[in-house]
Amino acid sequence: MKNFISTTIAVFLVMIPSLLAGQEIGVPLRFDSYYTYEQVIEAMQALNRSYPQLTTLEVVGKSEENRDIYALTINNSKTGEPLTKPGVYVDGNIHGNEIQAGEVCLYLANRLLTRYGELDDITSVVDRNVFYIIPVVNVDGRVHFFEDPNTPSSNRGLRRLKDDDRDGLFDEDFPDDLDGDGSITTMRKRDPFGKLKTDPEDSRLMIPVKPGEMGEWTILGSEGIDNDGDGLINEDAEGYVDGNRNWGYNWAPPYVQSGAGDYPFSSRETGSIGRWMLERPNIVMVFAFHNNGGMFLRGPAIKAAGEFPAGDIEVYDYLGKNSEKIVPGYRYLVGWKDLYSTYGDFADFCDNLLGSYSFVGELFQVETETFDGTLFKSSEGGGIFGSSNEQDRERLKYNDHVTQGELYKEWTPYNHPDYGEIEIGGWVKMSSRLPHPFMLQDLVHRNASAVIFAAQQTPDITMEVFEKEKIGKDVYRLRVRLVNSNAMPSVLYQTIEHNLYPKDIITVSGTSAKVVTGGKIVDIYRDRVEYKEHKPEVQFCQVPGFGKVEYQFLVSGRGKVEIKHDSRKAGTRSVTVELK
């Protein structure tokens, strides 16, 4: 009984913060702070409740720690079933710390639903497309990022246990929040033999000593102690399986690709989402949001894969260059070439095995953190990893005057069990890779707009019989035109090159009619047709972006003849003509 009472009290105590924080999440959603995992679900449920006709909420799978991974599908069933429409898939937060990606997804859903019927451009994409939205892929990661102390970059991987230091114990030496401020910052120690000294321009920063000069500081790494007593600090934290290296295309083992996981789809998150996506072969456009750097990255993710076919690059260029304008400062880049090679990459999986155009959106540019609001431009040319001192000085001014010190923890003395007297300080968890909430609205709106722009470019195909001519006794010549008014073709060039699945199918049928011959018109003025030798009533085609294809059929017989076009990415349509 005593137990029961104390449990009840404990449960109640746990509930208090959520009750306090818990003004119910309403629609339209707000984007002036970050949603916790539970709040992301509440927000999705709120959207689903408010728009039951347009949305479906489902659990795609479970995480390693058994949390639900939710997907919100936006589809207007009055305009057709989801699989008959070009699918746009958007996800975020596959890396646990990259949380604003979840907000972009939620904002997109919120925008599409709350402005449906109000703004023609929104109404049109909602009616014509289906949107599959998974705001948080690494649900465990989001929870741990909010609840646990972290650096801006830690807690990225999936929560699949891994013995990083190979001592037979799993995930036993995490960083530790020694100063109890909720962030894992940096430890430094006064050391006359150190390689760093105090930056004369901002005493919080350190700069390298010159040769021969005595030093002041040695950096001891991330905040933490040697939890397992093996002489190493923070050497076996969560995982590490990187959700974005565990997919089934060009996967390579961990000795080749760090974070790959033991085998493709070894994690529950990638496995369940991968299966779910393959069950939706209509997906033609994919956005996966990450942070940071301000980039729209396309594949290939590894050099050895070779470049995409020219036709696909044209589409990517069109989308990418427009996205650069929609989100100022962001750059459209190629994964392996402009960044680095990644095996088992999600976008590669989508490009190659799902047959969809795919962008990784790297959200947020730390360059926006300036005192005067202009984009920071380095005169030193910065380091490869992290920001340079010059940039950090500017960011500290921004921290001091624009965020009132919210982003930086001042150096504070601490007595460390191994190192003795040290100082702890530096950029806090909610800094460096995340926009301050006051800048969040702009980020989510512009990036969601890039998605909507791409949705507007998914294939939109019309079919007409533009000529019907009797050319003999009971023989008719039918000419069919398929026109695509958008940038994306009805099937990717790469899909065709790889024989991933059959091209679009045109079938001509009639109960009293027979197709004598038929084929693609290559020169309409000279009546040159590539006749298909066998089964002319079935033709395979691709309708190019901003283009057309024309087919000719010689049909004998009479009565109604139906011509049908069936495309995995662009739905089906048919036209009926009467032979007479």
């Binding site: 940096t186 397992d228 083992p253 961990p254 000795y255 085998y263 070894s266």
Partner: protein
């Protein structure tokens, strides 16, 4: 003809084939001698039921065709979550078209389960049939060799899936071939045996007569024959080492088939796995895994691309060792981030290891020599065709490269070679020439050299005169000639003799079957092709021995696994020593020994860091550790090698501490040492 696309033959020993007089009754009665998928599952369940305390059935996967792929676990630790004894994973017939390899795995299971000596020290995980769907075509009323499970696959990218498979037009129960005279025919019959065909050589004035097809009609009317039969994935191509995307039978991605995925998943959940064995297409005991392939990056000589080099201060004109790169990059990354090989390898796109590690080839070659000796002792004399090479994406290569375990395999039977008529033979081989001096070679004389060049099918420009001249002037050495000859493809269809493999098929099967395993060509009125002839080799005969000799094959080969098991690494603490250094400081030493031949962790396992290290730990006692660790991982220890681990401790009291050695795949041990007193 399906038989033509087989592997190039090379001479190796044939596993003991006693000429049996009993014909393989295939198809009439002998089928019952091989076990189909339901029979395998029934037998496994029976075996388990009869030995329930030491065995357990696991249904690892259900195939796309709906059959359970079962695994029999045998050992004294069944049911226990944490296994302490080394385990052997055995898989049979992953490609599905080699019924004899299923028999071998079943036979092994029976031997193990009947003998406590075989299972008391080990756990056995045996999957006798890794590709149940594909295996069905051997037992079906119409037989054809297939490696595909029943996941649908649209081979011809048309509007239908799995719509145009083979058709048994002549109703004999076999899918054989069709030959039809055609103006664009490329094939002609052999003079020596008009049943067999070879390609006409226009350069020699030969004109082709026949076109050939597999037996069947154009079911879907698209002008092609049998281009989209039932099924999709060859399970034995669906594993992640060098998996190839977009092949007809590989599957969509590595592990896309439930069969392969379940095995991969199982293996990574079982750190006690110490060895992997495959009864299948390869025979690593006869022919160790091959090296010499382009593509592996030398970890001592890594080039850095210019753009990366510039940004990070590397010189694009020289190479770096992995260690140098890590040392250089580590200071550039944010504090707390630990750079490892994998990060560098992926950042630079170095790619996968494609050749077996040299140290591993050493034990492979040695074990192969032993095995050949064993066969010789057992009286195996005949030469057989070479077993297949392991294919990219295969189970065997994945187990070696990704699990980092020693992997062995047997294909149980290979077609015996036809004995050459020795009368005219030169008696020389490329091998023997390689050992000759120039004088020895010239002493052979022109006639012998002529005969030899003819035997090897050397191109016409290599006349005996030319070669003798070159050797005399020193332009060519016998070693070089030997090397050149070894590079040449084995003679095929030379002098109208036909494919040696086909000739050997007829020769072998004539001992067992009145039809020699060949359906004679018979006229047939084909709906699409008109008058054709149907005939050719009966499916499966190239890799499936007559049922009558299966027992002797299994008795010869299967027990050899127990020899291999004896070589598995076994770790123990062989000795300990405590030295008082004064002031309460003691040096504690422990010798760790690998008592057996195989290394603890293959070289590949050390590279990929998948096999868990053994952990040496200090437990109990009251002391302060001055140097060394409480838990020390030991990733590797060579076969028959010892290594010393040392700790420095301080204790003012008399105390006893325990040195523990733990490895789930190489045994555990502990020793107590006394400090002070």
């Amino acid at each position: 003809m399906r038989i033509t696309n087989l592997i190039k033959p090379l001479p190796v020993l044939i596993t003991g084939l006693l000429i049996a007089s009993i014909a393989w009754g295939y198809p009439a009665c002998g089928i019952s001698d091989y076990t189909d998928a339901s029979g395998v599952n029934r037998k496994l369940n029976q075996l388990q039921a009869g030995n329930s305390s030491i065995s357990r059935i696991h249904e690892l996967a259900v195939t796309p065709g709906g059959t359970g792929m079962l695994m029999l676990e045998i050992g004294t630790e069944v049911g226990s979550g944490d296994k302490t004894k080394p385990a052997i994973l055995v898989v049979g017939n992953m490609s599905g078209n080699r019924p004899v390899t299923t028999e071998a795995a079943m036979n092994l299971a029976e031997r193990v389960i009947a003998d406590p000596d075989k299972y008391s020290g080990y756990t056995w995980y045996i999957i006798p049939l890794g590709n149940p769907d594909a295996s069905t075509t051997f037992f079906a009323p119409v037989k054809f060799s297939s490696v595909r499970n029943f996941s649908p696959f649209n081979d011809d990218m048309d509007e239908l899936t799995d719509e145009d498979g083979y058709d048994d037009l002549d109703g004999d129960g076999f899918i054989t071939g069709i030959r039809v005279k055609a103006p664009d025919g490329e094939w002609i019959t052999l003079d020596s045996d008009p049943r067999l065909l070879r390609k006409a050589d226009a350069a020699k004035g030969e004109k082709g007569i026949y076109k050939i097809y597999d037996e069947g009609i154009d079911n879907d009317g698209d002008g092609r024959y049998n281009e989209d039969g039932r099924g999709g994935t060859d399970v034995n191509l669906n594993f992640p080492h060098l998996f190839k995307h977009f092949t007809p039978t590989g599957g969509l991605f590595a592990g896309s088939s439930p069969e392969a995925f379940s095995i991969i998943e199982f293996a990574f959940k079982h750190p006690e796995l110490a060895m992997v064995f495959a009864f299948g297409e390869t025979n690593f005991l006869l022919t160790p895994p091959k090296g010499g392939r382009q593509g592996s990056v030398d970890m001592e000589k890594i080039s850095i691309p210019e753009e990366i080099g510039k940004a990070m201060g590397f010189d694009a004109d020289r190479t770096y060792s992995m260690k140098e790169i890590i040392e250089k990059v580590q200071p550039m990354v944010p504090p707390g981030m630990q750079i490892d090989e994998g990060m560098i390898a992926s950042f630079l796109g170095l790619g996968a290891v494609v050749n077996p590690m040299k140290e591993d080839l050493d034990f492979y070659n040695r074990i192969s020599e032993e095995y050949r000796k064993y066969l010789e002792e057992k009286g195996v004399k005949e030469e057989r065709f070479d077993p297949g090479s392991a294919r990219d994406g295969s189970f065997e290569l994945w187990a070696y490269y990704h699990l980092g375990l020693p992997v062995f395999s047997l294909d149980i039977w290979g077609l015996p070679k036809v004995k050459e008529d020795k009368k005219e033979a030169s008696g020389i081989s490329a091998e023997s020439i390689g050992k000759m001096s120039a004088d020895d070679f010239l002493a052979l004389g022109k006639d012998k050299i002529d005969l030899f060049l003819k035997e090897t099918g050397a191109p016409a420009q290599y006349s005996s005169d030319m070669i003798i001249g070159a050797v005399k002037t020193g332009q060519l050495t016998p070693v070089q000639i030997s090397g050149m000859l070894k590079q040449m493809p084995a003679p095929r269809g030379e002098e109208g003799k036909g494919d040696p493999r086909e000739v050997a098929m007829l020769a072998f099967w004539s001992q067992y079957r009145a039809d020699s395993g060949f359906v004679n060509w018979k006229e047939y009125d084909h709906p699409d092709l008109g008058i054709v002839e149907i005939g050719g080799f009966i499916p499966f005969l190239e890799n499936t021995p007559p049922a009558a000799i299966v027992d002797s094959l299994l008795n010869l080969q299967v027990p050899y696994l127990f020899e291999l098991i004896k070589m598995l690494p076994a770790l123990k603490i062989s000795d300990t020593e405590v030295t008082a250094m004064g002031g309460g400081v003691y040096q504690v030493e422990a010798w760790i020994e690998n008592e057996n031949y195989l290394p603890f962790s293959t070289a590949m396992g050390l590279r990929n860091k998948v096999p868990a290290p053994a952990i040496i730990s200090l437990e109990g006692g009251d002391f302060t550790l001055l140097s060394g660790k409480i838990r020390t991982p030991m990733p590797g220890l060579g076969g028959l090698k010892s290594v010393k681990h040392t700790w420095l401790i301080q204790s003012d009291k008399t105390t006893t501490l325990t040195i523990m050695l733990n490895s789930s795949r190489a045994g555990s041990d502990s020793k107590q040492v006394k400090i002070g007193g």
